[in-house]
Subunit: 348 residues, 2 copies
């Protein structure tokens, strides 16, 4: 009855998520002076006297972003909050509130939802944020979670993706690739379990990787360290899609190139071992795995001394001219172009 | 593999939405002084120097909240924004920004999504708000929309649900029940169409009702009038679930009773006529229909003169003592208790 048919048909899967967002949001000028930053970074920024309000939102869909067969609901609630707070930290802001909306099918009991909210409240307590609203509704099938995180910062301390400049030092707050490998293990054991329901899953030696996947943490400590030491990174982003994709975001938005030293990229020994087990290259997992929720940031050379004593930081490369491209210096002495191969849910 | 089974099983459908929210959010103390209002009103309020930030969020699920068979995607986008802005207006705040997240299955083309966003931008332009972020992801089936609206207000102008007191005048900004009746017509014509695909739907005399359902508006003018005249309602809520349900919210949170004069409740002539066609009582549609997005508010008697000249306002009753209950004075001279029978998606 309504006219939802069109003369041409562009398959969304051909665009990718960023292409789709670009296509849908390019004619969107700001109308308010208070809209300091809209679409295009980890979070939006709204001016508010001295402090600015920072807002970020994420949607998680059952069967796309999570599999309840191996994800305890408490962990799901915890992780759903953490991935949003990670975006606020990536702006060098302090998260203060969240809203949580869920749509659920009738297969969820109150007890199940309480487990989920238990995880949400555990994260709220640990990260010192208030749950201030949301929506709860039904869905014909499965679960959908939408979380909006709100944070505060002084306007001149906000760090965008676009501030990196030639000569800046490229740093990351922790090891990469572990979460992706944790997911590979969980998927493998799920298949084993489906084929042989009596067999106990082999997860004993994979504790670290599985925890990185099911219960990631956001980098609250890094932001606190920056504030204490008076360092403001020149650019920052959280590693949700993989190091390669995030570095490309920083370089594209900053108009620079960069190089990464393969040997400097932090990879956990368990990740090394498990990558080989799966016949994967550990650096590929670090570059393209995603869901690490570490912070990738750049600092001016003059701040190097202040960063050296950061409890968890790894210097992995440097910002270069745009003409030099985005490169990986391999341990074997070769140079490779870094291209994005992160998660693309539309192609899966 | 993960332990998502529980020893007891409380069916969510037995709780209703408010019961579920209560069950899930009761142990949720605020940790920040900046959290002036969290869960429990139309929107949350965050302190920010002189102006406060007001945030509200809603989730819309295909097959639950909308049916694409008779909802043009442009209207869907427009309405999705409007229902959120309505919550901001219901706080006596001015909406300034929104975030929009969507999960979509692969049946949606780019053209379809552009139609949807066209509706979103049309609403943004009309209501003068900026779209500042969101998330776009895939879903195994159907469409899910999550919108967060952000607004600003002076702290002392914010109107909660809990400020009504005995003797206050109960007002509403427009006619009620039309949206529900528009939905009944659309559902009827859908059934006719499914049975006889060649038959054109009979919508000609139902323009007004269908527009109230498919393209509702939020009450921007009322808020502007309050600001101009220096009136601050004592309590306010938007009519999304039906007059009865909203009045009960105000009375419960304010610790009062109320009465409504049946003859004073504004009902459009088309609603009267169509209600009778469907063998429904027009006042029942007004009390329990919902989705009108008018504002229900209470004012102190002393402000009555200022309200009389409001372009669109109907005085429908008065706030009383809690002991007097929440009553409908019928045109026939009888008194009825008003009980909530609004939408309950979990029971559908």
């Amino acid at each position: 009855m309504s006219n939802n048919t069109f003369t041409s048909f562009t398959d969304v899967s051909t665009l990718g998520e960023f292409g789709l967002i670009e296509a849908l949001t390019k004619d969107n000028p700001s109308k308010h002076l208070s809209t300091i930053k809209g679409i295009g970074d980890d979070a939006a920024v709204i001016k508010n006297e001295e402090e600015v309000t920072v807002i970020s939102t994420d949607m998680l869909v059952e069967g796309i972003h999570f599999d309840l067969m191996y994800t305890p609901l408490k962990h799901l609630g915890y992780k759903a909050v953490v991935v949003n707070l990670s975006d606020i930290f990536a702006m060098n802001a302090v998260p203060t509130q969240i809203t949580v909306s869920i749509a659920i099918s009738n297969k969820y009991s109150l007890e199940a939802l309480k487990e989920f909210y238990d995880g949400i409240y555990t994260a709220c307590k640990f990260y010192n944020v208030d749950l201030i609203g949301g929506d709860t509704t039904s869905s014909p099938k499965g679960m959908v979670i939408s979380i909006t995180a709100i944070g505060q910062a002084k306007k001149d301390k906000i760090v965008y993706r676009n501030g990196a400049k030639k000569g800046d030092i490229l740093c990351v707050t922790g090891d990469l690739g572990a979460s992706y490998l944790g997911l590979q293990i969980l998927e493998r054991e799920k298949q084993v379990y489906l084929a042989h329901p009596g067999v106990q899953p082999e997860l004993e030696n994979s504790q670290y990787l599985i925890e990185r996947q099911l219960k990631p943490e956001a980098q609250m400590g890094a932001i606190a360290y920056f504030a204490k030491e008076g360092v403001v990174p020149t650019a920052m982003i959280d590693v949700s899609d993989g190091l390669a994709s995030e570095l490309i975001h920083i370089c594209t938005q900053s108009g620079t190139g960069a190089f990464i030293e393969e040997g400097k990229v932090p990879i956990h020994p368990d990740s090394e071992r498990t990558a080989l087990e799966f016949k994967l290259d550990p650096i590929t997992c670090a570059l393209h795995g995603g869901e690490d929720y570490e912070l990738l940031f750049t600092i001016d050379e003059k701040d190097l001394e202040k960063i050296r004593f950061m409890p968890e930081v790894f210097i992995i490369g440097e910002i270069t001219d745009a003409a030099d491209g985005i490169k990986l210096h391999t341990t074997g002495g070769n140079m490779h172009d870094i291209t994005a191969q992160g998660w693309n849910h539309f192609r899966e």
